[in-house]
Amino acid sequence: MYMVIELKKFGTTLTSREEGREALAAFKPSLSDITDSESVEVVFTGVNTFSPSWGDEFFAPLIKQFGTRLILVDTKNLSVEATLNMLEKIHNIKFTRRNEAE
């Protein structure tokens, strides 16, 4: 069992902290339904631009809550790749990534 978050539903240009924070606030109620055994898949398909400011606001709390149960899908966009590398460094974590959207 897992929950899927499609980031493109928040927009295709994800760059500012303000919007990252807002996106998380909008999604938070759904996160409380996830049990301890479930994982969360975050799908990047359809996102054009993804930057650390948006990414940090959205992912920092998710990393805290789900840790290695967070699975990132379709991360080959260069801005996604570069931003995730930066977030891994900051939060000292290695994301589980899956590159083919299934």
């Binding site: 240009t13 760059t15 500012s16 902290r17 054009n48 993804f50 930057s51 260069l78 570069a82 930066m86």
Partner: protein
Amino acid sequence: MNTEFTIRETANKLAVNQQTLRRWDKSGRLKAKRKQTGKISRYYYDENDIENFLSNNFQVLLKIAQKWALDPNPPEILRRFHCPDRSIFKARLSRLEYDLSQNYNLTKIFPLIVAVTGEIGNNSFDHNLGNWPDVPGTFFGYNTNKRKVVLVDRGQGVLKTLRQVRPTLPDHLEALKVAFTEIISGRAPEARGNGLKYVRKVVVDYNFKLFFHSGDAVLSLSKINKTLKIEKNPDFVKGTFAIINY
């Protein structure tokens, strides 16, 4: 609504003298319009024509950006290049993204150009919200043929922002060094301050060039200059002035 400007106002907006405008009119580089009042014919310029001219002439645009960054009494910026608040910046950033995505040669890297531009531009709003010393917002222009983006703000600058969390920072040179190398934020205790490190990594990894001026310090960054080159500059930028070359 399209505004009309006299030749004097246009010269002021373009940071050139009226003689230059008359020369440009004759050569066709920037054609003036004429208004006949009795026997007198007057030159005037449409805001749209001036903005189109600037969109195609990056050197002139850059000169205006620089004047806006340095002048204690800056001229009003043409609307196409001024983002007075974050929502307008976001809309223009999306436009940049669209324009870049149309270039087949940039298919892979355009998201990085937009991300780097977004980080620098959003920083201006994040760090100056409610604290703009005079004119709020950013000057934001680009030219896809020259492969350049320019971003300016008249905010508090990097040193003043970082001193809020590191009061011992001695000068602008050190402030730029810290901003581009350490995970530190001028908005502590929030865990922030990775944007410019990201900018640095992308510039070096993908062979972009960055010129970043704040206070009397200028940082030049490129694949060759990857060890940060930060030097003192005789010009003083109160906020920040950045040119990205991709």
